[in-house]
């Protein structure tokens, strides 16, 4: 027996909403999906008229739907936003070059201006170069740290005062679980904020960012793209085998299959839990070198870049407390080299050492 839509009661239902498990027809699903995001934007006070907003666009499902819906809602509800697309080219052959083609297609389809910034231009290193130096393990750490900064730099360059990203409810629930499993209390506290980097500390040298999909299920985003026939790129990054996050992801999907509200339940938990005042949290300051926000004296990106240029890529991966130790070792290695100056054995020795470290 064909099921009728739970909302309009007239049309035939063609899907079961992952969030509530209600059967809906296509039009009613679009209505719910769009209105919920509009509601999040209004209730969360995400934008004000005249904002110039950079949409972080990777070409994947989330950012493609985000670009589409931002344009749609901006026109429908007259937010009076100036929207632009901002992409970061990490320099991963066989992955990012293909997905950027999708973004270029989006640019044409939605008539939004697109800017692409590359790691190579910003930092002098593409991800391919980095992986060549450090191997396939831990390279996501570099990519993540650099991208965060790259988006900010891009937005500043374009004169944007806000960045929107396609992080969905699944991503946020996953991050909450991960921060509990890793005991990262400082991130646990801030990872649920819908808008970050605004207001609390005016000296913060960052562009505020927000997540209009905070309460939107990943499955619904895929459904929306599917029924709207939006064109997106869906390949995993070739360097991506991030084992720990993968564990958490599959656990979250299992939770969702047992109780569909589990994802929002986790976000609710994250929103209401408070960190004890007695616990010491890192203080946000600015990096001495590049003046980007950092909880350390020198920000992670600068440490990583220094490591890469000195042939000590481990600098960026180990705990910040161990950075000094590695540097000291590197200096003593250098001294040994001076003492035995000009001998051939010395050169090969130091080469060996650097190889071992990488």
């Amino acid at each position: 027996m064909p099921l009728n839509c739970a909302r309009c009661k007239a049309a035939r239902a063609i899907l079961k909403r992952p969030k509530t498990r209600d059967a809906l027809c296509k039009e009613c699903f679009f209505h719910c999906f769009e209105n919920e995001i509009h509601n999040t934007i209004v209730e969360g006070n995400l934008f004000k008229p005249g904002d110039k907003v950079a949409i972080g666009a990777s070409g994947g499902k989330d950012s493609t739907v985000l670009a589409y819906i931002m344009k749609l809602l901006n026109e429908r509800h007259n937010y009076r936003l100036n929207l632009v697309l901002l992409s970061i080219d990490e320099g991963i052959t066989g992955y990012r070059d293909d997905s950027l083609e999708t973004v270029k297609q989006n640019q044409k389809d939605y008539a939004l201006p697109l800017t692409i910034l590359s790691y190579k231009d910003l930092y002098g290193w593409s991800m391919d170069d980095i992986v060549r130096q450090i191997g396939k393990k831990n390279n996501c750490t570099f990519c993540g740290v650099f991208r965060r900064q790259a988006l900010d730099r891009g937005a500043i360059k374009l004169g944007c005062n806000l960045i929107v990203t396609g992080h969905n409810a699944d991503d946020i629930a996953e991050t909450i679980l991960m921060n509990v499993l890793r005991g990262d209390i400082a991130r646990l506290k801030r990872c649920t904020a819908i808008k970050t980097g605004s207001g609390d500390n005016p000296e913060e040298n960052v562009v505020p960012r927000c997540k209009p999909f905070k309460y939107t299920y990943e499955k619904e985003i895929v459904m929306y793209a599917y029924f709207k026939k939006l064109h997106y790129f869906s390949t995993e990054c070739i360097y991506a085998p991030n084992a720990y996050r993968g564990h958490v992801r599959s656990y979250l999907k299992d939770l969702e299959s047992i109780r569909s509200s589990a994802i929002l339940d986790i976000i609710h938990s994250g929103e209401v839990l408070a960190v004890d005042e007695g616990i010491k949290l890192p203080v946000l300051g600015a990096c001495e070198r590049c003046s980007y926000i950092s909880s350390q004296r020198i920000c992670k990106a600068c440490v990583m870049l220094e490591g890469l240029s000195k042939g000590l890529p481990k600098l960026g991966i180990v705990k910040s407390s161990k950075v000094k130790m590695i540097k000291r070792e590197a200096i003593t290695d250098g001294k040994k080299c001076d003492e035995k100056c000009c001998s051939f054995t010395c050169k090969s020795e130091t080469d060996n050492k650097t190889n071992c470290k990488s």
């Binding site: 509530t20 919920e36 509990v180 499993l181 656990y251 299992d254 589990a262 929002l264 339940d265 209401v272």
Partner: protein, 409 residues
């Protein structure tokens, strides 16, 4: 939840390959158990380590004073068996400063036959637990889960001596109350909410007995491992703000405060304590014992954490420590009628509003149906729980008064 105990111990033993060169880290004696990678203990030192940890967990909060009457909740499982043994051992110590000075009474609550096991198994398990209590030097009381619906004039617990499982006149065997309890359990549509309901019911029953018996504190045998699993499950059920009350040493949401003296022991330590001391735990099967890992949120989380623990041995400790760093919710807030936790304050842009809006939009409900917050009597997760009660289709939900949503009269 520890029903796979029989298989657990050989696995745990096989993983530990005691190096011939490794000796007890304290006295260099013959090795008995390796706790973490390098912590090797001989029998005597492991005994000292365990009983010291138990005393210090109780001692450092300075809550329990000499002579305090304490109700010890005993389920027969590994955690509470070890706890009971440590209490008995501590009371009999001759050295004055190591002797436990409080006055404990054991409470055993008979559970229902959730997993539909044969009568022979149930009788055997009950017999084993009752024998264990008889062996104890402490006074013991018995109650049963259905006592949550006991008639008002009848007692909810009896002394161990007055209990006979075959005696139909025994006040704690009440078929009418039991069938009422079963119907409440069966009215819940998922195993997750059934387990949640049982946990809340058990907590309330223990409170009832403790209040009637005028006890100062309740001891429960939750281990560090169980705490970590339960904490992550709670997080997945939207109980973020309740984690502190539920899982810290002191839980003061109720009449009688609940203390958790076993919370610093991991499961492995408890299991080896039981082996060392020759105590034999009896695991009662739960609703999900014989079901798949995806039967409930709890069961899934348990298998997930156990799996992670294999590759990342610090997982349980890390979750446990994270929980210790959270803040208690504002005690002046509105209290949930069901689980007695503080109801989370309303926020404009929040997950609970987003979920309500989704239901409202996709079912095309009126705005009126949305709670405005002033009349909320249930917390976020208990609200989820009552939403999973199967409603009789002849009665429209609008006609039901809120009293009918409550699980307790």
């Amino acid at each position: 939840m520890c029903s796979n105990l029989d298989t657990d111990i050989p696995v745990a033993l096989s993983k530990i390959k005691l190096d011939q060169l490794q000796f007890c880290k304290r006295c260099q004696g013959k090795p008995f158990v390796v706790i973490q990678r390098k912590d090797v203990f001989c029998r005597d030192c492991f005994y000292e380590y365990g009983s010291h940890k138990f005393r210090s967990t109780i001692g450092k909060t300075r809550k329990v004073k000499p002579g305090d009457r304490i109700l010890v909740a005993f389920s027969g499982g590994a955690g509470s068996s070890a706890m009971l043994d440590m209490i008995e051992d501590g009371l009999n110590k001759s050295a004055n400063h190591k002797k436990l000075m409080f006055s404990p009474t054991i409470l055993y609550i008979r559970e229902l036959n959730y997993a539909n096991e044969s009568d022979a198994i149930i009788t055997q398990k009950t017999h084993k637990i009752v024998e264990r209590l008889k062996k104890s030097c402490l006074s013991s009381m018995i109650s049963s889960m259905e006592m949550i619906y006991q008639d008002k004039e009848k007692p909810t617990f009896v002394d161990l001596g007055d209990f006979d499982p075959l005696d139909k006149d025994c006040p704690i065997i009440n078929d009418k109350a039991q069938s009422k309890f079963w119907s409440k359990i069966n009215s819940l549509s998922t195993d997750t909410s059934k387990e949640d309901f049982l946990r809340i019911s058990r907590q309330q029953l223990i409170q009832k007995v403790a209040t009637a018996g005028n006890f100062k504190y309740i001891f429960v045998g939750n281990t560090c491992t169980k705490t970590a699993i339960q904490m992550l499950t709670d997080l997945a059920q939207g109980k973020g703000s309740q984690i502190t009350s539920e899982h810290s040493f002191t839980d003061s949401r109720f009449n009688v405060e609940i203390l958790k003296p076993m919370r610093e022991f991991i499961k492995k330590e408890v299991l080896f304590w039981n082996i060392l001391r020759g105590t034999e735990p009896v695991e009662w099967s739960t609703i999900t014992t014989f079901k798949s890992n995806k039967a409930s949120l709890m069961k899934l989380t348990e298998s997930y954490i156990n799996g992670l623990e294999h590759d990342f041995p610090a997982t349980v400790y890390t979750i446990f420590k994270t929980g210790n760093k959270l803040k208690f919710p504002d005690p002046n807030g509105v209290i949930c009628k069901l689980c007695k936790s503080v109801i989370d304050p309303e926020q404009r842009c929040s997950a609970s509003n987003a979920l309500q809006l989704s239901h409202q939009l996709s079912k095309n409900l009126d705005d009126v149906f949305i709670n405005d917050g002033s009349d909320r009597i249930l917390c976020y997760s208990c609200n989820n729980l009552v939403n999973e009660i199967k409603i009789d289709s002849t009665v429209s939900p609008q006609k039901l008064g809120i009293a009918d949503y409550l699980l307790y009269d």
